[in-house]
C-alpha cells in the first residue's frame, strides 16, 4: 500500500531523516518508535505533505506522492493526526469534524460531510451534538477529536501521531484499543507513532525503530524488543539493565 524508498530530510546541515525505506501492507498496523528527535514526526510530515522530502520516493497505492501539497495527499486517501492536538477553537466539535469530512473527501456535499462527521464522532466516542464547543474537552477528548477529524477525511491509510503522554494508563489502553478497532472495523491501514514502547507493542503487527534519523530495527514486536540495538537506544548499553528491560518489554508485549 505504501512504499517508501530512500527518504531523506535535511534542515540546513542537520539530517533529520537519513535514507529510510519501508513498506506498509494493506490492513496492518505498523508501529513507528524511537526516542525524541529520532525523526518520527519528520517522516510523518513528509508522508502527509507538510514537509517536502530532500530526496526519496513515497509511493501510495502505486502513485508518487512525495512533495505533493497536503490537501492533495489527504484527498488521495491518507489521514493524519498531530502529536499535540490542533483543534479549531472557533468551530464546534461537530464543525471541526464536518470540515474534514467536506474537504478531506474532495468536496462531495454538505450532507455527506455531516454524515461522515457523525460516523467518525460515533466511532471515537464523542457526542454528535452540533453545538458542543471544543474548549470543554480534556486531553483524552482532544485526542479523540484529532482522530475523528482524520477519520472523517475517509482515509485508507491513517498516520496516527499518538504520543500518549498526558494520558493515564487506562486512557492509553483505550486509545490503543481504538486504533485496533479502527483497523478491524473500518479496514484502515495504520502507521502509529509513539515513543513509549509498552502499549504500542501490544497492538501493532510490526514495529520499525528509528534513532537519529536512521532505521535501526524492524520486525515483529517480540523480535524488536529483544534487539540489542533497540535496547541500547532506549536504555543505554548497560547489559544487565537492558536485559531486564527487554524482559519487561516482552512481558508488556504479551509474548
Amino acid at each position: 500500500m505504501l512504499t517508501v524508498e530512500g527518504l531523506v530530510k535535511r534542515f540546513g546541515g542537520f539530517t533529520a531523516v537519513n535514507n529510510v525505506s519501508f513498506r506498509v501492507e494493506q490492513g496492518e498496523i505498523l508501529g513507528l518508535i524511537g526516542p525524541n528527535g529520532s525523526g518520527k514526526s519528520t517522516i510523518f510530515n513528509m508522508l502527509s505533505g507538510t514537509l517536502i522530502p530532500t530526496a526519496g520516493s513515497i509511493l501510495f497505492n502505486g502513485a508518487e506522492i512525495a512533495g505533493h501539497a497536503p490537501h492533495r495527499i489527504i484527498n488521495s486517501g491518507i489521514g493524519r493526526t498531530f502529536q499535540i492536538p490542533r483543534p479549531f477553537h472557533r468551530l464546534s466539535i461537530f464543525e471541526n469534524v464536518a470540515l474534514a469530512g467536506y474537504y478531506g473527501q474532495g468536496r462531495h456535499s454538505r450532507a455527506k460531510a455531516d454524515e461522515a462527521a457523525e460516523r467518525a464522532l460515533h466511532m471515537v466516542g464523542l457526542p454528535t451534538n452540533r453545538h458542543a464547543g471544543v474548549d470543554g474537552l480534556g486531553a483524552a477528548g482532544l485526542k479523540k477529536l484529532e482522530l475523528a477529524k482524520a477519520l472523517a477525511t475517509g482515509p485508507k491509510l491513517l498516520l496516527a501521531d499518538e504520543s500518549l503522554g498526558g494520558l493515564d494508563e487506562h486512557e492509553m489502553d483505550q486509545a490503543a484499543d481504538m486504533l485496533r478497532k479502527i483497523r478491524d472495523e473500518l479496514g484502515i491501514t495504520i502507521i502509529w507513532v509513539e515513543h513509549i514502547m509498552g502499549v504500542l507493542m501490544r497492538v501493532v503487527d510490526r514495529v520499525m525503530v528509528l534513532d537519529h534519523g536512521e532505521k535501526i530495527s524492524e520486525g515483529l514486536p517480540s523480535a524488536v524488543a529483544s534487539d540489542p540495538r533497540v535496547i541500547e537506544v532506549y536504555l543505554g548499553a548497560d547489559a544487565d539493565s537492558s536485559q531486564a528491560a527487554a524482559a519487561e518489554a516482552r512481558r508488556k508485549a504479551g509474548v
Partner: protein, 323 residues
C-alpha cells in the same frame, strides 16, 4: 416566516419607500454615501473577519473608480462594460499580490505590510500618470449628452442613486451571508487558526484564501466604481491610498467585524462623524476625523474588540430571558 426574516423584510421595504416620502437632498446624499461605503466596508470584512487584514483595499477601490472613469473618458466605454472590466482588473491585481503571499505563507503582520504597499503603489501610479488621471487634482468623468444617462450610468436624481446604492448594499449583505453559511467559512476559520491543521483536514489553504480575497477585491472595486459614478469626481485621496484603507479597517472594527451589519454600523458612524466635524468646524477641522478615528480605533481594539453592533448583539444573547 420567522420573526427574524420578517424584521429584515419590513426594514427593507421601509428603506425602499424612504426616498419617495422623504426628499431632503442633503440627507439622501448622506444616505447614498453611507450605503456605498457600507458596501465597501462589507467587502473588506468578508476577508478581514478571517484575520486577513488588508490595507490594500484602497488600491482595489482606486482601480475600480479610475479604470471605469478612464475607459469612459478616453475610449467612450460605457460604465456598464467599464465596471466589469475594472472589477476584473482589480481581481487580477488581487491575485497577483495575494497568490505569492498565500503560497509562501506570508501571514499576519507581514501580509498587512504587503497590502499596505499595494495601496501605496496604486496611489503612486495614479499621481504619476497625472497627464491621464489628473493626478492629485482629481478626475471627473465626462458628462453624458442628455438622454444618455442610463447608458453612461449618470443620474441627476438622488432617488435613483439611493435605490441603486440600496440594491448594491443588499447584494453585499447577501454575499456576506452566503459566505457565512458556506463551508468556506469553516475552512477560513480553521485556516485563520492553524494552516497546517486545516491542510491536514484536506483544505486547499492557498485556494480558499485566494477565493475569499478575490470576492472581497471584486466587491471593493465595484464600490469604487459606483462612488465615482455617483460623485462624478474622484481623487486619489477619496478612493485610493492608505487613508481610505485605514478608514475601512477603522469603520469595520468600530461597527463589528463578525456580524453582517457591523460594517454598515461602522459606515454610519464614520460618515456622520466626518460630516459633523465638517459642518461644525469647517476647514478648521480638516484631518480631525482621522485623529478621532485613530484614538477610537485603539479604544475599540482594547475595550470592544467585537465592535458596537457585535457587543450589543452579544449582550442581548446572553441576557437571561424573563419569564
Amino acid at each position: 416566516m420567522n420573526p427574524r426574516n420578517a424584521a429584515w423584510a419590513i426594514g427593507l421595504v421601509a428603506l425602499i419607500a424612504l426616498p419617495f416620502v422623504y426628499r431632503e437632498p442633503y440627507h439622501l446624499h448622506i444616505l447614498v454615501l453611507i450605503l456605498i461605503w457600507s458596501f465597501a466596508y462589507t467587502a473588506w470584512s468578508i476577508m478581514g473577519r478571517f484575520g486577513l487584514v488588508s490595507l490594500g483595499h484602497g488600491g482595489f477601490m482606486g482601480v475600480g473608480a479610475y479604470v471605469t472613469a478612464l475607459l469612459w473618458n478616453h475610449l467612450g466605454v460605457s460604465p456598464w462594460i467599464g465596471i466589469p472590466i475594472s472589477m476584473v482588473a482589480a481581481g487580477m491585481l488581487a491575485l497577483v499580490v495575494a497568490y505569492p503571499c498565500f503560497r509562501f505563507r506570508i501571514t499576519g503582520h507581514y501580509f498587512v505590510l504587503v497590502t499596505l504597499a499595494l495601496s501605496g503603489i496604486v496611489l503612486q501610479v495614479i499621481t504619476a500618470t497625472r497627464d491621464h488621471t489628473g493626478g492629485s487634482l482629481g478626475y471627473t468623468p465626462n458628462r453624458a449628452p442628455s438622454g444618455h444617462g442610463l447608458m453612461a450610468l449618470q443620474f441627476d436624481s438622488k432617488t435613483t442613486w439611493y435605490l441603486i446604492a440600496l440594491g448594491v448594499w443588499v447584494f453585499g449583505l447577501l454575499i456576506w451571508r452566503w459566505v457565512d453559511r458556506s463551508m468556506s467559512r469553516y475552512a477560513m476559520e480553521a485556516i485563520s487558526e492553524d494552516e497546517d491543521a486545516a491542510a491536514a483536514a484536506g483544505v486547499n489553504v492557498t485556494a480558499e484564501k485566494l477565493k475569499i480575497t478575490l470576492i472581497s477585491a471584486l466587491m471593493t472595486a465595484l464600490a469604487g466604481a459606483l462612488y465615482c459614478q455617483y460623485q462624478m469626481f474622484i481623487s486619489p485621496d477619496t478612493v485610493s491610498g492608505i487613508a481610505v484603507s485605514l478608514q475601512m479597517v477603522f469603520a469595520v472594527i468600530v461597527g463589528g467585524l463578525y456580524v453582517s451589519l457591523g460594517p454598515t454600523v461602522g459606515a454610519v458612524i464614520t460618515i456622520l462623524l466626518a460630516e459633523v466635524l465638517r459642518i461644525k468646524f469647517g476647514t478648521n477641522a480638516v484631518g480631525w476625523d482621522n485623529l478621532v478615528y485613530g484614538v477610537m480605533l485603539v479604544v475599540f481594539i482594547i475595550f470592544l474588540p467585537k465592535g458596537i453592533l457585535g457587543s450589543i448583539l452579544d449582550r442581548l444573547k446572553t441576557q437571561p430571558k424573563k419569564a
